[in-house]
């Protein structure tokens, strides 16, 4: 059975003849929603976003309307800032890149609407430095929008002023963490801030109220304003509304980016029907459903998922991996998360020791080094895993890996601690036999491609 996508954000992406210049965008209805939004007023837009039940697409899935409601533009005397988090760095995630490269004005329109809704006069687009092309594209798009009167002073003669600046990162994953991003934007090392007291909504950029939203989230705002919050909330499932951009990578026939209503399909449908199944006729072994920091899900696992039955009562059902719905709540109930939408599929040929060593090498490289458990613990994890992969594992290593990870998660300044610990905790819990077997046949080193990552 073939599943057809329902493209909202990606509506124009890869459509033949669609270009990223403003003329093409406007020809396809671009900036019409902005006109509608400006006429609605900021409070009305915020109401619609709240009604839409939109959840943030950056990874945490926090309700956007709630995030916005922490700020009251009528009460604060300080400037309010909005930052678009375009530091897309989670391994397995490549959705924001598509928007930036192929439909930059959609992002700008969503940003301008969000800024207007929250009384923002100055906003930043924080883009990872590796998006060199994306940076140039966004600068050009901003110039076009400015020239067309959608940005700058007195936007569309409504009296509303807004300026947006692009700020490039310097190559650190931690800049995707919103308070780390804010520090970086202020010109400092991207050390995430302690919360409390530095909640961005209260003490954000330059100690002013600040909203940080992901690229995809801001694009959604445009569509919410366009169709209304209630109509938007009808897409997807209750509390898991709208569409979701899914980035599928790994051992499937057709990896790539897809867009579906949240929870409209199961993991099995995504892998088998959308992505053409596992490559080379191999068997599914494991899936990381929300970017590399999400806990791994193992083929054959059965999860107890609570769902609202037709009579309105909550029912607990046993659901296999391939029958898991791809939505926020279901994946959380399965012990993982929807995260950034990066679905990493692994087939039975994958060596889980190497996969985890690879992931840990990434996090050890990216730990900012500010707080003790993450700074010291994550490199330790990498070193142990590297040693096992090189054929020098010790019998106690799997237990030690778990204990080290347990002493990181929940004890750090930011969520990086969990991001680094969760893969280790879940790989060890679910594939312990594979780690023990690797240690038992010590002396035989792993494949060269993984080892090279470890030094």
């Amino acid at each position: 059975m073939a599943f057809s996508e329902q493209r909202l954000i990606f509506k124009n992406i890869d459509v033949p003849g669609y270009t990223r210049d403003i003329a093409c965008y406007q020809k396809n209805g671009g900036y019409e929603v902005l006109k509608k939004g400006l006429a609605m007023g900021g409070g009305a837009i915020r109401d619609e976003v709240k009604k839409s039940q939109l959840r943030g697409r950056g990874g945490a899935g926090f309700p956007t309307g709630t995030k916005w409601s922490f700020i009251d533009p009528t009460k604060t005397t300080k400037p309010i800032y909005l930052i678009c988090n375009a530091d897309e760095s989670e391994p397995g995630t490549f959705k924001d890149r598509q928007i930036i490269h192929k439909d930059p004005h959609q992002l700008l329109e969503g940003m301008i609407l969000s800024c207007f809704a929250n009384g923002v006069k100055l906003a930043y687009l924080y883009i990872r430095c590796e998006f060199t092309e994306g940076w140039k594209i966004m600068e050009k798009a901003l110039n076009e929008a400015r020239a067309a009167g959608f940005l700058g002073k007195n936007i569309l003669k409504t009296g509303y002023d807004l300026e947006i600046y692009v700020h490039r990162g310097a190559g650190a994953y931690i800049c995707g963490e919103e308070t780390g991003l804010i520090e970086s934007l202020e010109g400092k090392r991207a050390y995430p801030r302690i919360k409390p007291p530095y909640f961005p909504a209260v003490l954000g950029l330059y100690m002013c109220p600040t909203i940080v939203n992901n690229v995809e989230t801001l694009c959604n705002v445009k569509h919410i304003v366009d169709m209304g919050g209630e109509a938007y909330a009808k897409i997807g499932r209750p509390n898991n509304t709208g569409t979701r951009l899914l980035c599928v990578s790994g051992d499937v026939v057709k990896p790539g980016y897809y867009e579906f209503p949240v929870g409209a399909l199961t993991l099995g449908q995504l892998i088998n029907d959308v992505c053409g199944g596992i490559r080379n006729g191999n068997r599914l072994k494991a899936v990381i459903p929300g970017g590399s920091s999400a806990k791994v899900l193992k083929a054959g696992e059965v999860y107890k998922i609570k769902e609202k039955g037709s009579d309105g009562n909550m029912l607990e059902k046993e659901v296999g991996l391939e029958d898991l719905r791809l939505d926020f709540d279901t994946l959380a109930a399965a012990g993982s998360m929807a995260g950034s939408g990066g679905v990493i599929v692994m087939d039975h040929t994958r060596d889980m020791v190497e996969c985890l060593a690879n992931i840990s090498a990434f996090y050890a490289h990216e730990s900012c080094g500010q707080c003790t458990p993450c700074r010291e613990g994550v490199l330790w994890l990498k070193k142990i895993l590297g040693r096992i992969a090189e054929g020098h594992g010790r019998e106690d290593d799997p237990a030690l890996l778990k204990e080290v990870a347990d002493k990181i998660a929940g004890r750090t300044i930011c969520a990086f601690g969990e991001a680094a610990a969760w893969p280790v905790q879940s790989f060890i819990a679910k594939f312990k036999a594979e780690f023990s077997a690797r240690i038992a046949r010590n002396g035989s080193a792993s494949r060269h491609d993984t080892i090279s990552l470890l030094h």
Binding site: I194, T372, W380
Partner: protein, 564 residues
Amino acid sequence: MNPWNHDVAKDELDLVDVQVDGVWLRMPRGLNVVEVAHRSKKFIPHYCYHPKLSVVGNCRMCLFEMGTPKTNADRSPVLGPDGKPEIAWMPRPQIGCATGVTQGMGIRTDSPLVKDCRNGVMEFLLINHPLDCPICDQAGECKLQEYSVEYGTGTSRFVEEKLKKPKNVDLGKRIVLDDERCILCSRCVRFSSEVMKDDVLGFVNRGSHSTLTAYPGKRFDNAYSLNTVDLCPVGALTSKDFRFQMRVWFLKETKSICTSCGTGCSTTIGSREGKVHRVTPRENEAVNSAWMCDYGRLNIHYLDSKDRLHRPLLKAVGEQFPGTWADAIHRAAEGLGKVKPEEIAVVASGRLTNEELFVLKRLVGELGVTRVDMVPHSGQADNFLRSGDGNPNGRGAELLGLSSGGRKFSSWGAEIVSGKIRALLVLGGEDLVAAGIPSSALQKLDVLLFSGILGNETSRLAHVVLPSAATAEKTGSMVNVHGRLQRMTRAIAAPGEAREDWLILRDLREACTGGNSLHSVEDVWKAIAAEVPQFAGLSWAKIGDLGVQLETRSSLSGGNLVKA
């Protein structure tokens, strides 16, 4: 002085109910949990937190278990069988340094979760830490050692190779950095930037590889840089002056004050076997908070100077010869007795203690000497602790009526030349040649008596040299430029036969006038308190370790002074 004082509540009277390890207490609202635990006679270990620096929460050593009051549907608190609110404990530990207490908050400082958190942090901090303890100057006062004993496991599960980082980094004139020992708490970074407003330190590289360094092209040379050696909880920052000199557990600690300028920072003198090895600031919010300047801290090497006066010297046939104290005091008294009181001038000193000045005051009063003054010393003031007044006890000399701030002194050179002044008693080691009286004039004096620590041009011309004791070698009190009366306590004995000035002056007074009823510094104090209105009601004990504020600065300079 400090941008932050986290140990002081916004309002000490605005109290909330807080449960600390099962006991309900009243604590100021908003005070952080580390301070609340401290006030509850509990201890939450910490590395990065310092009450005078911004809170960064990076070490994670102060993680504690936090609870909030359980509430009913109407938001009223759920009460337990004991009538006290029930607490809902959060599964995730919180950092004590950044958490202010609120009404009904629960705090567990020693639960299994908290122990596990501390144990984890200790293990993490130690995996890449070098085993330098046997050669590390911090050993003995190292928080890593102390907390390791208290909260660590004693063994390591780390079998990987430790990270290599720069060692013996020359960070500035007075500071050496060992990056392998650094636990990246950022106290030094924050001190430089927040207290000194000197952005010079920072971290480079990422993760475990993070490394403390000075900004490219900058040196860590500011006038207060050595405070970071005290702030550093480990042996990463060490003082070039002190490193490798002495194990800290051998040091005897003596409470004193710094006498390098008029501020009089509270200090702790670290000494062993008659030698001062270091001086560190002692916390005193009324004077210096937790800081002192590098100059004052390192101003100890004159104690071992080759110019140090060790024995009384008496001049005979144009040369100085060592003599006994009895001979020296006799010669001095004889000299003063040969001239009329109006022909005597006394250079009191703002470097003497109140006790010494008081004995002097008795002496000049009994002799009928009226020419008494002090040599002004100007220092290099800054906007922080250093005072423009180089005399540590100029205020004391004024209060005791022994100073006109150098006004009288300015004419003494001419009066010596004209023969009006025939005898001069110089105290506090003042070098009058440096103060503007030419040596040719001093040579004309019938009697030149010199008491001081170090030899100088004036001492070399003296008929009698009375070697005296330095700050670390004596007990007494001084009044700083802000009118705070503070005590210093003897840490070591004066070298050779040198004596404390109050003893020299007591004996000289006895020889000159026969008067003596003073047998100890406490005795002197009793007499001062009885005689000097500003000191009335004060006893030696009442001054305490942190001193007492005498009066406001304006009333001090308002002329309410005792006449000599």
